[in-house]
Subunit: 363 residues, 2 copies
């Protein structure tokens, strides 16, 4: 456990309840309209929270799954119970590698431990995963801050960052990945402005706008379609996104639409960085085709949630339930389009060789 400065929001997206064992999250399907805390008491509730994206963001999914194992072990500390819980959790979301990694780590830690001590071991390990996430993001923030500072003299204005989806505080335990450098810049007085793409179909860009507003960071929301137009008018100095899984070759799998932004950045000579916690690197994935792309419910496209005229939660239907829809949740940006990976260990080229300089333990 590494001691770190408090993040810009000074609250954690996941924490133990005052009872010391159940798990509190903020239901992100209700944000940004309502801040609704939910208390999860069973592994089934955790699986449901991940599947329905009450929690989302690769690092937070990993941390939440770890606590899911804690709740499972508390109810049934047997090997069978542990295996069933891990299977249940693993099946919730296929793309983010942090989920499988957190589960593997929890199982390895619990393997062979006496059933009577498993609960204590599990909670300690889940807590460590959370603390490490905070420390990793804080370090990404520091390395990314250097990237932003280097752009400032060329920008002749606040550094203009374009991001996609939410790779901020809400996607992690604290700080965020792609937004950590932005928050550090803001703390340090480096002028920064963020272009936030709305991120259909689930509009996680609204989460990004919400947490940037909360932290006082200047930003502007755009439709996803507008990213190319905004970049073409030279209003963007750098693209900065998160990742759900980065391959050993430096290909960046992230929320669908990331690839299109990377193509525009590449065509226009705008640097494109991904903020990559080591935990989201899939060392077994040799290239873009090795990443499974989750296909989600078409109703995410057919129905849009927001606020009604009375200010309450409401939704509108764009398409009939039977209307044919495809809804891939992720795409893969090939390494050749990625200027660099900002990791907790520093910035490297998006390539096997680049990653080897920072992670020599992975051959």
């Amino acid at each position: 456990v590494v001691a770190v400065d408090a993040g810009p929001h000074r609250w954690r997206t996941i924490q133990l309840a005052p009872d010391g064992w159940s798990v509190e999250i903020v239901d992100q399907t209700r944000l940004p309209g309502d801040v609704v805390q939910r208390r999860l008491t069973t592994v089934a509730m955790v699986a449901d929270a991940i599947r329905t994206m009450q929690v989302r963001g690769a690092p937070l999914i990993g941390a939440t799954a770890a606590y899911g194992i804690c709740l499972a072990v508390r109810a049934d500390p047997s090997d069978g119970g542990l295996a069933r819980a891990a299977d249940l959790l693993r099946a919730t979301r296929p793309t983010a590698v942090n989920l499988a990694a957190a589960l593997a780590r929890m199982r390895a830690r619990l393997h062979g431990a006496p059933e009577g001590s498993r609960q204590e071991i599990a909670y300690a390990e889940a807590q460590r995963i959370c603390e490490e996430d905070v420390a990793v993001n804080r370090a990404i923030g520091e390395h990314g801050l250097a990237v932003l500072k280097a752009l400032l003299p060329h920008a002749q204005r606040p550094v203009q960052v374009l991001t996609h989806c939410n790779a901020g505080h809400l996607a992690t335990v604290e700080w965020g990945t792609a937004l950590a450098p932005v928050y550090r810049a803001h703390q340090e007085g480096v002028p920064v402005h963020v272009w936030v793409s709305e991120t259909r179909p689930r509009n996680q860009g609204l989460l990004t706008a919400w947490e940037l507003a909360d932290a006082g960071v200047p930003h502007t929301v755009i439709a996803d379609n507008a990213a190319g137009a905004i970049m073409a008018r030279r209003a963007v100095d750098v693209c900065l996104v998160g990742t759900d899984r980065t391959t050993a070759a430096g290909d960046v799998c992230n929320k669908v639409g990331t690839y299109l932004k990377a193509l525009a950045a590449h065509a226009l000579g705008i640097p494109f960085y991904a903020a990559v916690p080591g935990s989201s690197i899939d060392w077994a994935a040799g290239g873009p085709d090795a990443v499974p792309i989750e296909e989600r419910d078409g109703d995410e496209v057919r129905v849009v949630a927001g606020r009604g005229a009375d200010g309450g939660a409401a939704s509108v239907r764009l398409l009939a339930a039977a209307a044919p829809v495809a809804n891939p949740a992720f795409d893969v940006t090939p390494a050749r389009l990625v200027t660099g990976l900002i990791t907790e260990r520093g910035v490297c080229d998006a390539s096997a060789a680049g990653l080897a300089t920072l992670y020599p333990e992975h051959p």
Copy 2:
């Protein structure tokens, strides 16, 4: 006036009312939920219909503006009245070149004509503009059909077309531009399937889905962000879009987001065509920077329209009225990303030389 086959929808998006002088349109802001016909009786109503996008699509905007001149001349046939009407209409939308072209054509036709004959001349000319639009689109359909047929043997499945926004029947008087080849293919028994990007912020993709469904053409709606993912999985054989203004160098200005799709198509070796009526070529625009990009109200991003739980028209707010938003309505796809331009005179390279082969009268 050229005699043409009936379009697949067998109704026109703009026509004279039974009274013989007022103008009937379908309010496209109410589609696809409600089919609401509106009767326009003044040039101010026409300007409002164009500005608020009750009518939209470059060719239909041109035709509607022509009838706006008719209504103006009917009320005030003086040179001053004509000039004021043209100014009013020209100011409604800055990007689509058909608007300015239709106004220039109407004014040239009316120039020097006695006031007493202007009404008759104006209506005849507006009618000609409509008939020519139908004939032009029918010809684009024929040339585009050959493009689709040539792809079929390679496709080993229905030809997979990806389109953006609505460049269909609803964007024109009949047939559509980008969708005309699709409708012709469907009529000819050439199997075709259309990927329809939703087209935020105004979701004109829903108009495309609506008119394709009405014509029985298989299609699938995707979020704009998903276009790259769908193309990367080799599910698209050709991209086919409309244009609001094409430069003399072959750069294609179209609904914002088109550029991102063109970048993906180019990166993945997928042909990318624009359906370009000669009337939408701006011979005075030498390159991408010559096209003015309309910035529209941020509420188009902040608020989404659809159907409520009761099936009636409803909307939800995504962002507070004060939330910072940018909303460029168009982007420009550089000619180098465009495989070809499908015009009423045939298919040509997206270049000055290519256009010169089809339009030798423009040096």
